[in-house]
């Protein structure tokens, strides 16, 4: 009896999600929620006047962006490189699973985990804003949550590629964080591309094409354009990772 490819993929995603849960992801989400609540309590001790709502929102979003980045990288490294080291990959490959199926199932599981995390962050933010007497516009927070998720997905895609390019946990983590930093500094890269000499100009220009710009996700671009831009880059990085992984020695 043959296991159809779609069922096999679904099965792999389910197993990868189980692994996410067993990596104590629920505990980590609880910890991040506590950090948000405690930080907001501390911030409320200061007098921000009418700007308090904006300060609280900035704090929660910064916390989510920072911890989300760390989690996106660590989850990928633990699941991809850890899976290769532990022999989990080998056991699936000898049963007819393709390498790209295994890798993509992990990417999808991390995406689901990041969606949970983003949802938790923005629900916590909404509740905190309302509780402290501020306005929490649902549509605006939903759009902001969507942009945050896309940003974290880009980080997860960088990490996926880093995991198949680099050998060793430290190298993969370093490469993923380096790409994230480059994306964060994308506006500076573009500026350097415009103002550098002829040779450096091209170098910066190519870098700004290879690395997506996080400033596109800051809300100034139309929602649909942002969605296409971020999901396009995330898919490109994931496909690149699959192409490299299918040729890598294990």
């Amino acid at each position: 009896m043959k296991f159809p490819a779609t069922r096999r993929m679904w099965w792999l995603i389910q197993q990868a999600l189980r692994e996410v849960v067993h990596l104590r992801f629920v505990w980590i989400m609880g910890f991040i929620a506590l950090v948000m609540i405690a930080g907001v309590s501390v911030l409320r001790e200061f007098n921000f006047g009418t700007e308090e709502g904006r300060f609280l929102r900035n704090y929660v979003e910064a916390t989510l962006a920072l911890w989300g980045t760390v989690i996106a990288v660590i989850l990928n490294v633990a699941m991809v490189q850890g899976g290769v080291e532990r022999g989990a990959l080998v056991l699936t490959l000898v049963r007819g699973v393709q390498r790209h199926e295994w890798l993509l199932s992990r990417w999808v599981a991390v995406a689901v985990a990041l969606a949970w995390l983003t949802l938790l962050g923005y629900v916590t933010l909404g509740v905190l804003l309302v509780r402290h007497g501020h306005v929490a516009p649902v549509s605006e927070l939903t759009l902001a949550g969507g942009r945050m998720f896309l940003r974290l997905m880009l980080v997860a895609s960088f990490a996926l590629t880093a995991c198949v390019v680099a050998r060793g946990f430290l190298m993969a983590t370093g490469l993923a964080l380096g790409l994230t930093l480059a994306a964060q500094l994308s506006s500076i890269l573009e500026w350097a591309g415009r103002h550098g000499g002829t040779n450096t100009n091209w170098g910066w220009q190519i870098l700004s094409w290879v690395v997506p710009a996080f400033h596109v996700l800051d809300g100034s671009t139309k929602a649909l354009d942002t969605l296409l831009y971020a999901s396009g880059y995330a898919a490109l990085y994931a496909l690149l990772a699959c192409a490299i992984f299918s040729r890598r020695e294990i």
């Binding site: 043959k2 000898v94 049963r95 020695e249």
Partner: protein, 244 residues
């Protein structure tokens, strides 16, 4: 598979190089390895570290592509779906999820392989390795020997015709090694072909009908158990043939 095939495994002129750094420098792991393993026989690949034993097994399991040469399982090229269904593989290092029971772990792999009559096959695989009593216990509670036997159980789960075992006795105490030996003898009694790698020469000599000695990515001796005995034993052959 039918009884007309005298050879279960056939490897011919296998060459494999590994890239060792980003500059593209390569290290030769296999330099033209050829051998055949008769159907229903237990064959041992022995040799020092880095001689190419694990690489050979990985190629046969379809995990690595050789740079040159070819290998077949019952006349089917490696990589074909039909040859994959004929192989069970135990990797050298395998960590199983601590949170699953032994039975659930095998159940997952059986589902993935698309096996039918899963419960029966799990029971038979666990019985073969003497783990039927521990089926409902979590893997986290297993000793090293039990984990290794569960690893063997996953390799024989689909009742494959060929079982590839990479250092199956590594790190096992004498009792666990004896239990593993009993499982391998039972596989032979069932008519399965077993190809295993080992560093532990007395065990390899005791378990195997055929022995292949490798060094530096080449086969330097191949012979039956009797031929090895006539040549002065495996230890003697090993020390004489390998550059120490």
């Amino acid at each position: 598979m039918n009884s007309a095939h005298p050879l279960a495994i056939r490897a011919e002129s296998l060459v494999k190089n590994y890239q060792t750094d980003w500059k593209g420098r390569r290290r030769r792991a296999l330099a033209g390895v050829s051998f055949g393993v008769a159907r229903g026989c237990v064959c041992g690949l022995v040799g020092p570290n880095g001689s190419g034993k694990s690489t050979t097994l990985k190629i046969l399991a379809g995990l690595l592509r050789p740079d040159a040469g070819q290998c077949e399982i019952f006349d089917h090229s490696i990589g074909q779906a039909i040859s994959r269904g004929l192989i069970g593989y135990l990797p050298e290092s395998l960590e199983m999820p601590d949170y699953l029971t032994g039975e659930a772990f095998l159940g997952q792999l059986a589902q993935l392989a698309g096996l039918s009559a899963i419960n029966d096959k799990i029971s038979r695989a666990l019985a073969l390795v003497g783990m039927a009593d521990a089926a409902k216990r979590r893997v986290g509670e297993y000793s090293k020997g039990m984990r290794q036997r569960l690893g063997l159980a996953q390799a024989v789960l689909g009742e494959p015709a060929v079982v590839l075992l990479d250092e199956p006795a590594s790190g096992l105490d004498p009792r666990a090694t004896e239990q593993l030996g009993a499982a391998i003898r039972q596989l032979r009694a069932q008519g399965r072909t077993v190809l295993l790698t080992s560093h532990f020469l007395p065990q390899a000599e005791e378990w195997c009908d055929q022995l292949i000695l490798m060094e530096g990515g080449r086969v330097i001796f191949t012979g039956s158990h009797t031929e090895v005995a006539v040549s002065g034993g495996l230890q003697h052959l090993y020390l004489q043939s390998t550059q120490l």
